[in-house]
Every structure is written in structure tokens, then in C-alpha cells.
Symmetry: C2
Subunit: 467 residues, 2 copies
């Protein structure tokens, strides 16, 4: 034995000591599950990216916002159609095509599949949540606070009316007409408040109206709307968690959400200096990105901990870091991260929405369909009226302003996604919100073109800084 | 009632239909867990990024590779010390400081904490796995296949000896001297084969020796070593999964791993053209990144499915895309993603390693300590001998070449991480490998400086393209 050579350096009883250290060969099935969970996540991500790109590119070709195609792509692979991407809340492991593929590849039993399905779904859901956190961080980074002070009272009034009118109409209507319980009604009402500026500003720009009075009011109002909408969402989501609507609670939540946002922006001025000092001292890779990303995660965690929404924190972090000198560089580094995480969110929202509950062929679905129609009507009317909130501008095209505020886009989807995750929305209500987002986003561009027809264009604006 | 207004558009029995749609208010605790799982993931990521930056920056200041600091940072917050980052395999939920914080914040009971702990650990583990996949994808992207053909026979011989010698010495030694079972012994032997070129090329560059004969041989051998090492890892990890070492299996695995790598590179030429065609046609965000990333995930999935390692697929994908014309652009977009995902892997490897099993004060640990010392000795000797494998270069500094191959760096950690995840390594063996990686990486720079002392520098090379 060669071991004799080593006998002088080893303790005399080392062979006896040795067996006490366990050298168990992977008998735990957990380790094997892990490899399948990873395989499930990889396959699911491939499906998500493929559909998001197919949908997004098709949308783009049709002159619609790519996010709409990503959402529809999600619907197609989700519970409503192909069952490539399903979640434990909406179906069993046996419903998932990805799980069937893994089961076939790995020759797995039912118990193993159930375990792997639960784990990989959890991972995809957290990735989707990280996606919406990064999305709001990016929106915050791109929102310029100084712009907010410039857009003036007109835009502020339009924004407030555009949040209040659909919220009130939607919530009160759902409760009074359809006897929907208060909390889901409030959530659905809140989902009506969002405004997505991307699609409108693109149409305005193409028609040469972005710098017109109407264009400036719409863009300004949409920026303010982002801030108001996120406060509304934080308040409503928190109500959904506690399940109670008492006035004190609402007042507390509105104050805490506003205080959180305003407070972090004010404290942000000081933080910004430390941030830049830290980032400039770091010499390893990710010197700018990691502190910024960590800051966004800390803010998201804090907002989550004080019972607001994680995305409120991420948005506040973005607003704060928007003020740094190295914003452009940061923007550029956050973009690839958003590119890979945000589609997971949009596709997941689509995949979870069970649109079959709105199938008109089934008699029980009629009530849900009527609610969906009601929501769409309120979504349009509630924003249309904002045009008449403009004061002191006699010649302004009030109809165009109202139409410009109609598309809900990605912000509406954030509401639907958070609502579905919190479990507060019934399936028909969730599906109705998704359909509302799709329709308002589809309808706005042709309506806007029609409303602006014959109106002379101002100077065209080829490059767009507003999202 | 206002509802009368709508009675004409509603079916007469709509109020009866309505209650059949469930409007259950989130009574499911799952939804609440979800919020805490997200909070746990956010807090864990904040801890990981903070420690990885602290460790990485400190390392950099000490002229050591940042990855070493990230690893040590992981050890500090992991099971060995602060218990900020622990996993179900290495400890209970009660051991986790992050879980205690969540429990205190959310007033959770033990069952809820156990559930949240399991879920958030699963998410962090998959993020770490995605991290190592992105790392290997990036290494593949940065490895130039054309360089491989240029470095010549000298480098190839050094690489093969540098893989074979430590593998043989380590595996045979562990089995013969320490009666370690064959599979863990093979895995530990394989972990000794890695070479990390980063640290050596930096020292060589600082001393002005990067373009010397020694420098060229070391760099070339390390590039070949990367490829050989990943094949060895894929084979060994697959052996660990089946738990059997029969010759046919080994031969099959070596052939399939090599065929996978070579096959994908050959097919890659065709794929590259389709890839560029697709990427140039896409008009939405992530037009270059998403197809590339999806390709890497598909390859990782395929490698996983044919019982090799996911990272082999990601590495092959990187090698293939390295040939595209848009490589630089892609590199730049993959970098931020690597910046946020890769540290999760390195810190997790450190956090999972229980170095307390090497505490010399405890008598039972002595056998483990002796094995660790043996591994370190083999790690150094097995690479030192490579210098004497160089032929036909009489004046060459063989000692310097041998020393230059010693540091294991991030590649050694990939072995340790995969080994720990597969469950095949005992705790002392895992800890021994981590200590081996740390020590070899620490020791190489001063030894190399000493070996090259007095030798005239060739032209200095300030910029470095090799990682």
C-alpha cells in the first residue's frame, strides 16, 4: 500500500477517524430535481423569449406598441390556448406542456413532476416580479422630474381628472351596477387610471403634433399620471392585502405612499452624492451598475416591507438616480437587463389571463362579458372627459387630448399583473382588465389620427425622449 | 337602484348568474407568501451584491483577482460565519438571518418561514445557476477559436499535461491514500485541472512578460485548458449523476461531450448566418441580445437534456457567437447581465462551503485537513511539472511556465459549485477544494514575480484582451 508512505504525517488513528466523515453519494432525489428545475426554467425562458419576440415584432410591423404583441404572445402560450406556460394557480402540472416534455425526457413520476412544476413556477414568477421591478426602475430613470415642474397646471389638471374620473366611474359602477365586492372593484377602478404615453407620443410625432399645445399637454399629463398611478396602485394593492377598507387605513396609505415617494426624492439629493462618490471609487466590473441596482432592490424591499408595493420603491430609486451625472451610462447598462427580464413579466401576465372566461358562447360568461364591456366603456369615457378639463385655451382640440390619454399599455398591465398575483381579482375581472388594456391600446392610434385630421402640423419631432 | 338602468342590456337572470363566478378575497396564504418570497429574494440579493462588491474591491486593492474577494465575501456571509446566506442543504430556516428578519417584520409562524425559506432558496439557487451559465457564455464569447490554432503544439502539450497530471495525481492519491470513494475522488481530481488565466496574464503584463515565449505558452495553454476543463467537468458531473464508473460510460461521455462541443462549433458556422439574418431583421428592443441569449439557453437546455452540463452548452453557444460580426456589440450587452448574475454564483459557492469542517482545533477534522493539504500540494506540483513538458525551447523558463498555470480562480470555483450542487462532494472535500482554489490563486502572483526576477522584460503590453 502506498498509504504507508504517509503514515508519518497522519495521526495513527486516521483510518478510524475517516469513516466518521460522511461520503454519502447523492441518494437525495432533491439534487436530481434541481437539474430538472433548471431544465424547466431554461425551457420556459426559451418559450417566453421566442413568443415575446414573435409577438413584439409582429406588433411593431402593424405599427402597434411591441408590448401589446408580447402580451398577446403570452395569452397564446398560456392557460387560454397552448398551455406552454401555465402556473399552479391556474392549472395542474399535467396541464403544462413544458412539464410533459420534462416528464418524457426524464422519465419522471407524478410526484417528481409536481415538485418540479411548483419550483420552476416559483422561479419564473419571481423573475417576472424582478422584471416589473426593473421596468419601473427604468421608467423612473427615464422620467425627468424637472420636466414635471415645466408642464404646468394644464397638464396637472388633465392628469388628475384622468386618474379620478375613470377610477370613480369604474369603482362605483362595478359596485352599484354589478354588485362586485368593494376591494376588487377598487382594484379594477385603479387599473383604469393608467396612461401609457409611448403609443400616443409616437402617433403625435408621426403626425407632427408632438410639440403642439395638445401634444405637450398629453405628454405632461402622462408623466404626472405615471406618478399618480403608482401611488394609486400602492394604496390599492395594500388594501387588497389587508382586505379592509376603512377611511383611516386609506388615508394612512395615501400619505405613506406619497411620503415614501417625495421623501426618497428629497433624500435622494443627498444620496446621489454618496452614490456618485461610491461608484467613482469602485474599480471592479459593474462599478456603476451594481450600486445602482442594489439601491433599486433596497428601495423595492423597503416599500414592500412598509406594505406598499416593491415597484413603488424601484420607481422612486429610478427617479432619484435620474438626477446623477452618469445617468446615460447607467441607462445603457440597465437596458440589457430590462431586455431580458421585462418580457418575462409581460408574457407571464398574458399567460396567466384566462380569456376563455370571456368566451361568449358559454352562457355563464355573459355577466363577465358585460363587465368587460362596461370597463372598456369607462376606460374610454373616463379619459375622453379630460379634454374638457383644459381651461383658458379656447382653440385647443379637446377631443384629441382626451383620445391621447386613452391607451393603457404597459402601465395597465402592471396593474393587472399585480392584481392577479395578489389574488384579489376574480378570473373574469382579470380577463376584462387585460382585454380593456388591449382594446384601448389598439383603438387610440386610429382615433387620434381621425381627431387630428385637417389640423395643421407643428414642427415635426423625429427623435423621442419620452417613452 | 341604479342597476335598473342597465336591466335592458343584461340578461334577465344576470344577478342569479353572477354569484357563480367566485369573488373570493385572498384567503389563500400562498399569495401572502409570494410577497415574502420576493422580499426574501430582494434582501438576499442586496446582501450578495454588497458582499461581492466589498470583497471584490478589497481584493482588487490587494492586487488579487476580484473573484477571490467575492468568494471570501460569500464565505463570510455563509454557513461558515455570519449565516446571512444559508441554504436548506446546509442549515435550517432558523439558521438564516434573512429569514429571521422576515419573520420579525411579518410576524410569521414557523411553517410560513419554512415555506418561504425553501422557495427563496430555490430562486437564489436557480439565479446562481443562470449566473454560471452566463459566465460560461461570456467566457465562450471571449475565447477566440482562431487563437487556438495559432498557439501551437507547445501550448497544447502544456495544456494536456496540465490537465492530466493533477487529475491523475489527485484522483489516484485520494483513492489510494485516503480511501475516498471513486466518484468524489474523480470529481476532486477534475477540480484540480482548471487554469485561470486572468491573474497570471495580469502579472505577466505588469512585469512586461506577456509577449515573451513563456507568456505566450501560458496564455495559449490556459485557453486550451478552458475547453478541456469544461469537457472534463461535463463528463465527471455526468458520472456523478449516474453514480457508476464503467469504462463504456466514460468513453460515451467523453465522446458525447467532445462531439457536442465540436459539432456545435461546426454547425455554428451555418447558424451564425441565420443568427445575423434574424438579428438584423428585428426592430424591437433586444434585437441582438434576445436571440443570442435564447440561443445560449437552448444550448444549455440541450446539454442538460443529454446528461451533460448546462454550462457546456452555454460555453459552446458563446464560442459559436464569438464568430459573428456583431460580437463586440453583443459582448457589451451581455456584460451588464453577467455583472448582476455572476456574483450570485460566486457568493453562493462561498456561502455554501462550510469551512468550519477544516477547523484544526477539532480532532475529527484532521483527516479533512490532511486531504486539503494533499489537494493543495497536488494542485501546485501537478501544474509545476507542465513547465518541463515544453520541448525544443532550450532557454525557456520552465519554472515560470509551471507557476503561471497554478491559479485556479473562477474555473476552479465552477467545479466546486457544480460538485456541491450535485451532492457528490462531502463537506470536507468541498471545503478542501475551495481552500485549494483560494490558496493557489493567492500564491501564484508572488511566486511568478520571484521566478521571473532578473529575466529581461519583453515589450510591455498595457491592454489585455485575454480574460
Amino acid at each position: 500500500m502506498v498509504s504507508n508512505v504517509f503514515s508519518s504525517v497522519l495521526p495513527p488513528n486516521w483510518v478510524d477517524v475517516w469513516p466518521s466523515i460522511p461520503y454519502v453519494l447523492a441518494e437525495t432525489p432533491e439534487a436530481d430535481y434541481g437539474s430538472f428545475v433548471l431544465a424547466g426554467v431554461l425551457l420556459t425562458l426559451v418559450v417566453i423569449y421566442t413568443m415575446s419576440k414573435l409577438g413584439g415584432e409582429l406588433s411593431k410591423r402593424l405599427d402597434l406598441p411591441p408590448v401589446l404583441g408580447e402580451l398577446v404572445g403570452g395569452v397564446i402560450i398560456g392557460i387560454s390556448a397552448l398551455h406552454l406556460l401555465v402556473f399552479p394557480e391556474t392549472g395542474a402540472a399535467a396541464d403544462s406542456v413544458v412539464m410533459s416534455v420534462l416528464q418524457w425526457l426524464g422519465n419522471l413520476d407524478g410526484e417528481a413532476v409536481a415538485h418540479i412544476f411548483a419550483s420552476q413556477s416559483e422561479v419564473i414568477e419571481v423573475l417576472a416580479e424582478l422584471g416589473v421591478i426593473v421596468l419601473l426602475f427604468e421608467i423612473g430613470l427615464e422620467s425627468d422630474l424637472r420636466e414635471l415642474t415645466k408642464v404646468g397646471y394644464q397638464a396637472a389638471v388633465v392628469a388628475v381628472v384622468g386618474v379620478a374620473a375613470p377610477f370613480m366611474l369604474g369603482t362605483v359602477g362595478l359596485v352599484m351596477l354589478f354588485h362586485v365586492p368593494v376591494i376588487p372593484a377598487i382594484f379594477a377602478g385603479a387599473a383604469l387610471t393608467a396612461t401609457s404615453i409611448g403609443i400616443t407620443s409616437k402617433v403625435l410625432s408621426e403626425l407632427g403634433h408632438l410639440k403642439s399645445t395638445e401634444g405637450q399637454i398629453i405628454v405632461g399629463a402622462a408623466v404626472i399620471d405615471d406618478v399618480l398611478g403608482i401611488i394609486v396602485l400602492a394604496v390599492v394593492a395594500s388594501l387588497a392585502k389587508t382586505g379592509e377598507v376603512d377611511l383611516m387605513n386609506v388615508v394612512y396609505l395615501i400619505i405613506s405612499a406619497s411620503a415614501f415617494l417625495i421623501g426618497s426624492i428629497l433624500l435622494g439629493k443627498f444620496f446621489n452624492q454618496s452614490f456618485e462618490a461610491i461608484a467613482s471609487k469602485l474599480q471592479t466590473r459593474g462599478a456603476l451598475l451594481i450600486p445602482a441596482f442594489t439601491f433599486a432592490l433596497v428601495m423595492a424591499f423597503l416599500a414592500n416591507v412598509i406594505h406598499l408595493e416593491a415597484i413603488l420603491g424601484a420607481f422612486a430609486a429610478g427617479l432619484v438616480l435620474d438626477e446623477t451625472d452618469r445617468r446615460k451610462e447607467l441607462d445603457q447598462q440597465v437596458m440589457p437587463i430590462a431586455d431580458i427580464l421585462v418580457p418575462i413579466f409581460f408574457v407571464t401576465v398574458g399567460a396567466k389571463a384566462d380569456l376563455s372566461v370571456l368566451n361568449p358562447a358559454v352562457a355563464e360568461n355573459r355577466a363577465g362579458l358585460i363587465i368587460a364591456s362596461f370597463l372598456i366603456a369607462v376606460a374610454i369615457v373616463g379619459k375622453l372627459v379630460t379634454g374638457w378639463a383644459v381651461f383658458g385655451k379656447p382653440g385647443v382640440n379637446r377631443l384629441a387630448i382626451g383620445i391621447g390619454m386613452i391607451p393603457r399599455g404597459e402601465v395597465g398591465l402592471v396593474f393587472a399583473g399585480i392584481g392577479a398575483a395578489s389574488g384579489v381579482l376574480s378570473k373574469p375581472l382579470e380577463a376584462a382588465i387585460i382585454v380593456m388594456v388591449i382594446l384601448t391600446t389598439f383603438l387610440a392610434p386610429p382615433l387620434l389620427q381621425w381627431a387630428l385630421k385637417g389640423q395643421p402640423a407643428t414642427t415635426p419631432e423625429p427623435t423621442l425622449s419620452v417613452k
